[in-house]
């Protein structure tokens, strides 16, 4: 191994070691799907499976740059979050990297957020050149991508907690913060309603939902 390679691998090991390393090699309780430790394990599983990385916004220069752009756009009247809202209330995905609001504790709320955002990473890897441009350019495609990602969250919540979204949740989806016109918002809500209807029948079809199902099966078999 060359010296630069050694230095980089050493630095990378030091930096990544604590992020996705399994906390224990002992098999955990096969019926525990909802404890904080189990949900953290699921998050690691999803990151490994979909080649994504979850991190916090913190003092990320990139996130601050995006927040500044959002602040300017919000001042100009666009239907997007302000700088502070963007940094403290919204999760954001850039390519395969998921940025969560700083200080979000491990647990159900964080996992549900991750389920949605990982859906964007899946869409990115599916069409890495097309997806970012289409998401930015077209409100209709944005509605499609957002409802697709939200479907992963719905299916995951159903498989883990037996929960389905409420009517208010569907009618409020994408109302704010996505710079979409009314027809596109309606499209997203209809897609979500269809997804929730299928999920209620036990149909799991999104990549994230299928991954949650596989993780659950692996856990039941004592493989995780």
């Amino acid at each position: 191994m060359t010296l630069p390679g050694f230095l980089l691998s050493t630095a990378a090991s030091a930096l990544f070691g604590a992020t996705h390393a399994p906390e224990s090699t002992m098999p955990s309780d096969p019926t525990d799907f909802t404890s904080d430790a189990a949900l953290a394990d699921l998050e690691d599983y999803l990151c490994d499976r979909f080649k994504a990385r979850v991190t916090e916004k913190g003092d990320s220069v990139v996130m601050r740059g995006v927040a500044a752009a959002f602040g300017v756009a919000a001042m100009l009247g666009a239907n997007v979050p302000t700088s502070d809202e963007f940094l403290t209330r919204f999760a954001t995905t850039l390519g395969p990297v998921v940025f969560l609001p700083t200080g979000l504790p491990k647990g159900k709320r964080r996992l549900l957020l991750v389920l949605h955002e990982i859906g964007h990473a899946v869409a990115f890897w599916h069409e890495p050149l097309f997806m970012p441009r289409a998401y930015v350019q077209s409100g209709e495609k944005r509605a499609d991508y957002e409802s697709g990602a939200e479907r992963g969250r719905i299916e995951g919540a159903f498989l883990l907690f037996g929960e389905l979204p409420t009517a208010e949740g569907i009618h409020g989806f994408m109302q704010h913060g996505y710079a979409c016109d009314a027809p596109d918002i309606t499209l997203a809500q209809q897609l979500l309603d269809i997804a929730a209807t299928a999920t209620a029948s036990g149909v799991i079809s999104s990549p994230v939902g299928l991954a949650v199902r596989d993780w659950r099966l692996a856990k039941e078999r004592g493989q995780r």
């Binding site: 010296l3 630069p4 230095l7 980089l8 630095a11 990378a12 930096l15 990544f16 080649k51 994504a52 990385r53 991190t55 990320s60 220069v61 990139v62 850039l94 390519g95 395969p96 990297v97 940025f99 069409e127 890495p128 050149l129 097309f130 441009r133 289409a134 350019q137 077209s138 209709e140 495609k141 509605a143 499609d144 389905l164 979204p165 409420t166 009517a167 569907i170 009618h171 016109d181 009314a182 027809p183 596109d184 309606t186 499209l187 209809q190 897609l191 309603d193 269809i194 997804a195 929730a196 209807t197 299928a198 209620a200 029948s201 036990g202 149909v203 799991i204 079809s205 199902r213």
Partner: protein
């Protein structure tokens, strides 16, 4: 490597700092090695060749310091380029000295001499008379001598060079035309949305392949799910049903007993 890239995207400042520090250390080691192999030109060329593959952080720092201070900060002589630069600077200094000497001598030689004025209007310049040139023979320029080369004459062109230039430009042009005809990536060229279908916005349907769809505001059918028959967990069909969440009637992948009777199911 993928994790390293992902981490680099997430933490660009830290990644840049670690990367620059690592390169600076490697460059420092390289500076020692290149001095050790200085007496062996081939070995030195090999070492410097490998070093040229990476960014030169130390040289960047040196140039940055020169830019900030405005002073010619001496280089730490990292490789043969610095030695060559030092040698060239020394030679340049010698040339500057020679130039100054030439200017001094020319000033002495062409210094104006005092005019010698005699009586009357006769003025004699203080230099020797220059002999007039020979007269031009017109016939000499009317003859064409094919043995004489004209390469050195401005505006002339060598036919072989012209042919070579034309062939090169033609080949480049042909390559460009061929490249323009190459199929570009579909990801880069296809529009964000497909063709307009002309459907009624907000309506839903089961597509012929058994996939639920929604008509968008731009009158395009948008896929709302997979082909229902492909669902592996349950025996789902695509049909008109009532949403258990909102109560809306829509087409979705559901169990057959949840279909509304007036719509069959695919």
């Amino acid at each position: 490597m993928l994790k390293l890239i992902l981490w680099g995207v997430a933490n660009p400042l830290e990644f840049g700092a670690i990367f620059a520090s690592a390169i600076a250390i490697v460059r420092g080691i390289y500076a020692v090695i290149t001095r050790l192999v200085a007496p062996y030109p081939r070995l030195r060329a090999v070492v410097e060749g490998f070093a040229a593959l990476g960014p030169d952080v130390l040289r960047f720092a040196l140039q940055l310091a020169r830019a900030i201070t405005g002073r010619a900060i001496p280089s730490p002589a990292l490789d043969s380029r610095d030695a060559e630069l030092a040698s060239l600077r020394a030679k340049l200094g010698e040339l500057e000295g020679l130039r100054a000497e030439v200017l001094r001598l020319r000033a002495v030689l062409v210094a104006p001499r005092p005019l010698a004025v005699t009586l009357g209007d006769e003025v004699v310049l203080g230099r020797e008379t220059i002999a007039p040139p020979d007269t031009i023979d017109p016939e000499r320029f009317d003859r064409f001598d094919p043995t004489q080369t004209r390469r050195s004459e401005r505006g002339s062109v060598d036919l072989r060079s012209l042919a070579l230039l034309a062939c090169t430009l033609g080949a480049l042009g042909s390559a460009g035309v061929l490249c323009m005809g190459c199929p570009a990536s579909a990801q880069l060229t296809r529009p964000a949305l497909g063709d307009v279908d002309g459907c009624e916005p907000r309506t839903t349907r089961c597509a012929p392949n058994g996939r639920p769809q929604v008509c968008s505001g731009s009158r395009r059918w948008t896929d709302a799910d997979q082909v229902c028959a492909l669902a592996v967990q349950v025996a789902a069909v695509c049909c008109l049903t009532t949403s258990p969440i909102t109560g809306a009637e829509l087409h979705a992948c559901v169990l057959a007993d949840r279909c509304i009777d007036r719509d069959g199911g695919l």
